[in-house]
């Protein structure tokens, strides 16, 4: 806003405030965060998908408050459940990578399993086909051979559960395995078509030298990102407010050329006014990163950078198990469930 001296306002009658202050004094401006009713929210809320690929979505959410947009983002990162390796049973590890480091690396591998088909494994539950996925890794490097790289595709899914046996409490007892599957997972209709493998086959787990070996079993369970980031279903989820770039004065001729050159992401463009005259226009405000290069030094009074308060450009990058559009719906459902729970607690 241009600066006006308090003493130099010929168009304001004595004893009155300038127009914009008068407006502020006498009116409540209804912005997105000011009182609105549910109906007008429903009427004004808009959503538009800009880009949707297998593991990424970008969409515009218009007419919503930051508190809700942020709630969705927080839920996506920390509260939408996922499957991840939680327990690793080491049988043999003679590689240079320590057991706990190896277990941690395994935990972070994205699994190709739909968490909605599983239940949480609670403390006094025994691991069964409804809450646990078992993988086996058995690799060794031949003595005298070249060094070898262990990749995530060598993790083999065991649909029948654990193959390792617990030490029985006494001699006569029948040995039990670490899981108690009542049926094989690949006989279940939801998994028979889509095996529960890993999402990416080329993640390096470890490197083995000649004569070294790793044998282990990994148990994956359902969890949420709040407990450990390995259960976060997104690589990241973020939003930014739509930038708005406004030219306060006409910028012509050489100045226009200079302005266009200044912006690294080409927000400005030149409009030809005929007979050699040129004018700068804002052509792609959406691309603006708010780096402030265009207002550095000379242009401070000419260009104003703003953001639209209720227009969010939301981006979700899925880590693999679920497509990004499903993740968002799940996140909104989780917020609904939270409300539902509190309402029933209060009644």
């Amino acid at each position: 806003m241009p600066k006006v001296s308090a003493l130099d306002m010929p168009d304001v009658p004595m004893g009155q405030l300038p127009e914009h202050l008068q407006l502020q004094r006498s009116r409540v401006v209804c912005k997105a965060d000011a009182p609105i009713h549910l109906e007008s929210f429903c009427k004004n809320f808009k959503l538009e998908v800009i880009r949707l690929t297998e593991d990424e979505i970008e969409f515009d959410m218009i007419g919503i408050d930051a508190s809700l947009a942020n709630a969705f983002r927080r839920i996506l990162i920390a509260e939408v459940p996922m499957m991840a390796i939680e327990k690793v049973l080491m049988v043999n590890n003679t590689s240079v990578i320590a057991d706990e480091v190896l277990a941690h690396r395994l935990g972070l591998i994205p699994l190709n399993a739909d968490p909605r088909l599983f239940e949480y494994l609670s403390e006094n539950d025994s691991p069964n086909e409804r809450n646990t996925i078992v993988y086996k890794l058995d690799v060794s490097c031949r003595k005298g051979g070249p060094r070898m790289t262990v990749k995530s595709d060598q993790l083999k899914w065991l649909p029948n559960g654990s193959e390792l046996e617990m030490t029985p409490p006494n001699q006569s007892a029948k040995p039990k395995s670490y899981t108690s599957f009542s049926c094989s997972q690949d006989s279940m209709p939801e998994f028979s078509k889509k095996p529960l493998g890993v999402k990416h086959e080329d993640i390096i787990i470890a490197k083995l030298g000649p004569g070294q070996a790793i044998e282990l079993e990994a148990h994956a369970v359902k969890g949420i990102g709040k407990v450990h980031a390995k259960w976060s279903p997104v690589s990241t989820a973020w939003y930014r407010m739509l930038p708005e770039v406004v030219l306060l004065k006409d910028i012509k001729g050489d100045d226009a050329e200079k302005l266009v050159k200044k912006c690294p992401v080409n927000v400005f463009d030149i409009e030809d006014l005929g007979n050699g005259k040129k004018k700068a226009v804002v052509s792609k405000p959406r691309a603006c990163t708010l780096c402030r290069e265009c207002i550095r030094g000379v242009n401070e009074e000419l260009v104003e950078l703003r953001r639209v308060k209720d227009h969010f450009i939301f981006t979700i990058e899925s880590a693999g198990a679920l497509p990004p559009e499903v993740l968002f719906t799940e996140a909104v459902k989780i917020l609904e469930d939270k409300c539902d729970r509190v309402i029933s607690d209060l009644s």
Binding site: P35, I36, V49, E325, V332, C339, V342
Partner: protein
């Protein structure tokens, strides 16, 4: 859990366990749109406690009912967001140029 006085039902503090900014800030937003609410705010008393306190003072109605309505409104908003999102995705899918379509080859 509700902390309020027995004589004045229009002002209360509610303690929600296992919740954080996600829910509290959203419901603060919906409550502040309610004309019956004179004051509403939330705080997390200690970052290592898993709880939030939501304070509500109303202009005459019972704080508990107003809070319930706040959650109800939040739920309706979520449902609306979800249906709009599903529609937007479906629209995008139908208008999406086919991946295998190659315009250049005759």
């Amino acid at each position: 859990m509700e902390h309020g006085s027995l004589t004045d039902l229009t002002a209360s503090t509610f303690s929600l366990m296992d919740e954080d900014h996600t829910l509290a800030n959203s419901v603060r937003f919906t409550l502040n749109q309610d004309p019956r609410v004179a004051f509403c705010g939330y705080s997390i008393p200690h970052p290592s406690d898993n709880k939030v306190n939501i304070r509500i003072q109303t202009t005459g109605d019972t704080a508990k009912d107003v809070l319930k309505d706040g959650f109800q409104n939040l739920m309706i908003m979520c449902q609306h967001v979800r249906t709009t999102f599903d529609k937007a995705v479906a629209d995008y899918e139908t208008n999406r140029p086919s991946k295998h379509m190659n315009i250049d080859t005759p």
